[in-house]
């Protein structure tokens, strides 16, 4: 093989190396979501109510405690699991009972769920129960027009009335 031919082939092999790197560096294109789809993301972190209500300590009980520990209320640390449901156009698409975080189950319950849905008008009904007994104490029903590629975030903020639908 002549020197020129060798150099030419060397150049071609280095070019092939560069082409391989250049191509797979951003191709082939990955389709993450359908062109006519929107994305629904249910996400919140909420500290539920305690499993038992707080009880007022009697004066005798308070007297037995060290002076710096004399809190008038005796509250159990453990919180209730959070039950959450989401209906999409009357169909239940998500239901979960989420235990509180923490070794003593005294922290917030966190929920995350995502689902691609066809763009268009949809009715969403979100329900949540954050107490040990009784039914859902937070319910919100909304109709949303979802454009293709939009993200609907369903969040929860107890201080702002419960479920928040954000786009």
């Amino acid at each position: 093989m002549s020197t020129l031919a060798r150099y030419l082939i060397q150049g071609m092999l280095y070019a092939a190396f560069a082409a391989t790197v250049g191509y797979f560096s951003n191709a082939p294109t990955y389709r993450h979501l359908g062109a006519d789809d929107a994305l629904v993301r249910l996400s919140f972190s909420h500290a539920a109510q305690r499993v038992a209500p707080c009880r007022e300590r009697t004066p005798e009980e308070l007297a037995k405690l060290a002076p710096n520990m004399r809190a008038p209320l005796d509250c159990p640390r453990e919180r209730s699991p959070v039950t959450v449901e989401l209906e999409l156009d009357g169909r239940l698409v998500f239901r979960n009972v989420v235990a509180p975080a923490g070794l003593r189950r005294d922290l917030a319950s966190t929920v995350y769920w995502r689902q691609a849905v066809a763009a268009g008008e949809h009715r969403f009904t979100a329900r949540m129960k954050d107490r040990p007994e009784g039914g859902f104490n937070f319910v919100k029903d909304v109709v949303v027009e979802l454009a293709p590629g939009r993200v609907l975030v369903i969040d929860f903020d107890g201080t702002r009335g419960g479920f928040l639908f954000r786009m």
Partner: protein, 645 residues
Amino acid sequence: MLRLIQNAGRWLFYRADALFNRVFGDRLNPLYYLGGIAYWLMWLAVASGLYLYIFFRTGVEEAYQSVEYLTHQQWWLGGVMRSVHRYASDAMVLAMLLHLIRHFVFDNYRSFRWFSWVSGIVVLWLVYASGINGYMLPWDRLAQFVVIGTAEWLDVLPMFNGTLIRNFIAEGAVNDRLWSLLTFIHIGLPLAVLALLWIHTHRVPGAHTRPPWPVAAATTAALVILALVKPATSQGGPADLSTAITTVDLDWFYLPVYAALYRFTPVEVWLLVGGATILFLAAPWLPPKRRRKEGFHIFVHPDNRIIPVRDGERLLEAALREDIRIPFDCRNGGCGTCKGSLLYGEVDYGDYQDTALTAEERKGGKLLLCCATPRSDLEIEYVPVEQPGSHPVRSYTARVAKLNRLTHDVMQVILKIEGERVPYFYAGQYINVLLPDGQKRSFSFATAPHERDHIELQIRWIADGLFTTHVFTGMKEGDRLQFEGPLGAFFLREEGDKPIIFVAGATGFSPVKSMLEHAFHTGIMRRMYLYWGVRSLRDFYLPELPRRWEREHRNFSFIPVLSEPEPEDHWTGRTGFVHEAILADFPDLSRHQIYACGSAAMVQAAHPAFLAHGMSEHDCFADAFLLAPQLRDAAPEMVRLGGRP
């Protein structure tokens, strides 16, 4: 099954090696330097990354804007740097994966090699983490996809449990401090990679931590050209958490796991990645189990040392571990640099390219030390590049002190080293003259080592030879040139008492002159013959010198041989090929040593003929043998025996 995969992998690598050897030569075959290339790409990524960091601003909007500024406003440097940073990182993954696969199929991961294997796997994952982290920084749509994907993937772990994604759930959730964290990680992880790389290679004696400069330069040039042809750009504008990612151009070197993440569940991807990691980490101890043996001992000449070899360890590895400086290059049975002689014992020759060790050589007792493993205690010999008390190779600047045209096509060039004395060398070694374009030309020392004032080179003009033409037409006294040396394993073995036959073809006389003058200077009394072959009488340069030696030293004889004497030469002496003259005079060469220096064609013709006349493989030393691959490829610059071209 494992054996089958490994055998198939070896077959593929050997075919690719052989192909690349034909194209690149065995010293510059990139497949032999995959680890070194990965190192080099790491440095490229670090260097380009440092430049980008100067301009990168940490903020929700500033991150995207600063990267856009680099890409478009400063495309001529910042944009190129961004692209090189990205492509070097991609190429590093490619090189690392090939490096890993190569060691896997060649079974170089078990036994004592477990440490390099395991540390390599950790390095690979750290590189992945670093690269994925890097994709978050520009805060474009790809960054949005990667950040959310990472959060969703990590969130299935109990320790996060859905909390991470809260940081990226909607517009306004992200603040500037995120980039302080991401940048900190993007500096910290590569530092960890470098530290681990050092550990990874530290326990491998003589590991390649950089490829040869031509390979490094070509790799860099390829990436720079790629950066210019196809600049890396941000995707789809700045991240917008209120809209979903529909399509994205993934970097499939770093981000295939993100495609898997939405094809399977995050838990399944954890199981897949975690399972693969555990499998790779445990691979050195998985079946089929090799029965552990004690290992062997080898007696190494010329160091005269006995060293242990661990079970499965190659001879070269064992020697380097014991600080025996056996010359080597590719370490993959491709170049033949580590060729040695098996004097006693039995070995597994391993897998190698046939061009690196021919069947005849193997039959004659040669082996490749980088491939062979012992099956018994051994006695081996190698030819050192550096003798005990070595003469280190380094670069020098010299001035042309004198030019003396010895004959119609041979120039005597006297060099004086600037500011220093002549480097110590062994009679027979050579130097590489470094040309401005990075090429090298090899010339033997014509002076003996005791000549401490100057270096003499004898340079033959070669038609179309760039450097030799310059020597004859452009070079002047006072010119400067750079060279590196001393080099080569062709030198006079002073021990022993066998008569020595020197065979010189044309300017092959140069190293022979050095060896003979050294022999006379040190008082070697062995019988010495010089057979110097040229084409016709006018090709003899310095003809009186060997005749004077003959008069002054009773143990020396000079036999000139012309292959094509001209009528006007009135030649009555020996004619024909120079090796044929030797064979006519010495039908039995079993008790002689031969030093042959000339063209590869001469040496290749002479060698089997000498062997056929009883010469021991261990008593034949030739320059062209060691340089044969280069000489074959560099025919125009090659000295030729007087006779046929």
